[in-house]
Amino acid sequence: MSLVSDSPVNSSSSDDFAAFLDDALDSGDSSQSSPDDDEDNDKDKDNHNDLEAQLPNDLDTQRIKRRKVAEELENIEELQASTSHSSLEQTLEASKKKDECTHPGSFGEMCILCGQRLQAESGVTFGYIHKGLRLQNDEIVRLRNTDMKNLLRHKKLYLVLDLDHTLLNSTELRDMTSEEEYLKSQTDSPQDVSKGNLFMLTLMRMMTKLRPFARTFLKEASEMFEMYIYTMGDRAYALEMAELLDPQREYFSSRVISRDDGTQKHQKGLDIVLGQESAVLILDDTEHAWTKHKENLILMERYLFFASSCRQFGFNCKSLSELKSDESDTDGALATVLEVLKQIHKIFFDELKDNLVDRDVRQVLKTVKKEILKGCKIVFSRVFPTKYQAENHHLWKMAEQLGATCTTELDSSVTHVVSNDVGTEKSRWAVKHNKFLVLPRWIEAANYMWQKKPEENFSVKPNEELITPVCSNANS
């Protein structure tokens, strides 16, 4: 036993005593030195930690204490039966691991697990749930996994909804044209929000029109999805709109995400959505907001009710408000997309064979989409600029996503020629061989309406202006 050399306290006057102790303890310990059970082990480790802490400070400890020191060193050496140095480190490390909190997240700069104050701000902010709440990536993954199981048990998926131009359309009062003035007398009372669909928000100086079918849509979608609102508007606006859409707070509860909560500017991201990406569907009218999650996205036709919104997107035609018209309630864009959502939900839960957890809604979305123009073989004529790489054009890609085959060569298997002009060589070929000659809009319509539209409605007329501006809702 090497108490004398190990101990930092090494005054000559106590040497004899230490030696005596060594002897006494050696003999005494043998009786109690085979504690194999864990409890004793742990106790010893703890004691040992105390000892570690004390050693540097207690240079002037009294003999009693030194005796304790001796005893503990003894125990450890006997127990570990290895070189004392390495075993010391091991025990130290083990106990450190036990004490150290991983700080999975923070609330008001405190760890949510151990309550410690955290200096460095790290992790993702979840300001939309509660001010001052942040979570680390590991914790987000853990939450997503547990939530996923829970959700699948209820046969639900996630649905992220955009507000503007998807579920509703807002305009500032000062941007309203004289032809829209009549709307001001038709607004619904803010007292009973759940019935109306046109609201004047005097405080925000705005007027908001819900998209036809929005209420039915939310009601039916809420049975299949856990829904989030995700808007590029600011927080106050997002909450105001959520109040209009969901006055009972039964659909969204606190899942309203606004521009202020996003982690990247001008981008929407699923990183702050507490759902696994393989189970999230997104409804939005702006594709480039979701660059990282295009596979989850169902692109919506823009709902442009007010004149100011039409102008914003470059349409010079009369707006729906000015025409005193609106999208169709029963087969407008929301009704169409609800059918698609139902179909995807059904395939996901009832038709896929593999394990629930391994299913991917993005794959389902892709397959459903591929059915739309399945079997069509498309040739484009004078749609792309001559030097343009045809495969990269968005219409080409769109057609392929819809399940059509695109080619540049004419042969008998071609079914559709897409062109704006009846005069091109390929167009004339199509007419001659009795193939469909359709406008590029036909593909876009199929993309938005999720079904193949009758080709007759999109036939190319002679002398039609090149690329007719697609006035919003022309299909309804």
């Binding site: 760890c111 697990l113 979840f126 856990e226």
Partner: protein, 176 residues
């Protein structure tokens, strides 16, 4: 924990308040300024219970304002680490739940909710035991232990736990 303590504050008063009601004006302004505020040292000032004394006013140069040193008794509320508190649940989500004890906002992470309680989503999200006998949802009252506090100028944040003996729901709004 609540404390009844004496605090001091310099009150600046506009000369228009001088006159017979000077004292009342000072007290009224003090209440308006102090009640409901937070200080990192003392916590949340709940109410002023009395005025110990109002010192001699000192005219500020150039402005005409007069500052009076006021000593007042007040009840303050400050949560401590390790303290047991009763709080009302304000929001339940998959991360845990938020509760309030007066001005204090407390977050209880689902790590610190007993393992046998599971999150149930829906329009009334809650944490429920497998047999359904105990349920934590919005407006439930819970007894919890504070494990971390942070007091800033206007708010007090706490981290709490109910993963310990004798902690958890103390009344059930659904049953009531």
């Amino acid at each position: 924990m609540f404390f009844h303590i004496v605090l001091e504050r310099n009150m600046q008063l506009h000369p228009r308040h001088f006159g017979r009601n000077l004292r009342d004006n000072i007290v009224a302004k003090l209440m308006k300024d102090v009640e409901g505020t937070c200080s990192g040292r003392h916590g949340f000032v709940v109410a002023i219970t009395g005025i110990e004394n109002i010192g001699k006013g000192l005219i500020r140069d150039g402005t005409g304002f007069v500052s009076f040193p006021v000593k007042y008794q007040c009840v303050v509320f400050r949560p401590f680490k390790g303290e047991i508190l009763e709080a009302v649940v304000t929001m339940v989500n998959k991360m845990g739940f938020f509760a309030e004890a007066g001005p204090v906002q407390i977050f209880v992470s689902n790590h610190l909710i007993p393992d046998d309680m599971e999150f149930q989503s829906g329009d009334m999200p809650n944490y429920t035991t497998s047999d359904g006998s105990v349920k934590i949802q919005k407006d439930s009252e819970v007894r919890l232990k504070i494990i971390g506090t942070r007091v800033d100028a206007t708010e007090i944040f706490c981290i709490g736990t109910i993963k310990d003996d004798f902690l958890g729901v103390i009344n059930d709004p659904a049953a009531a």
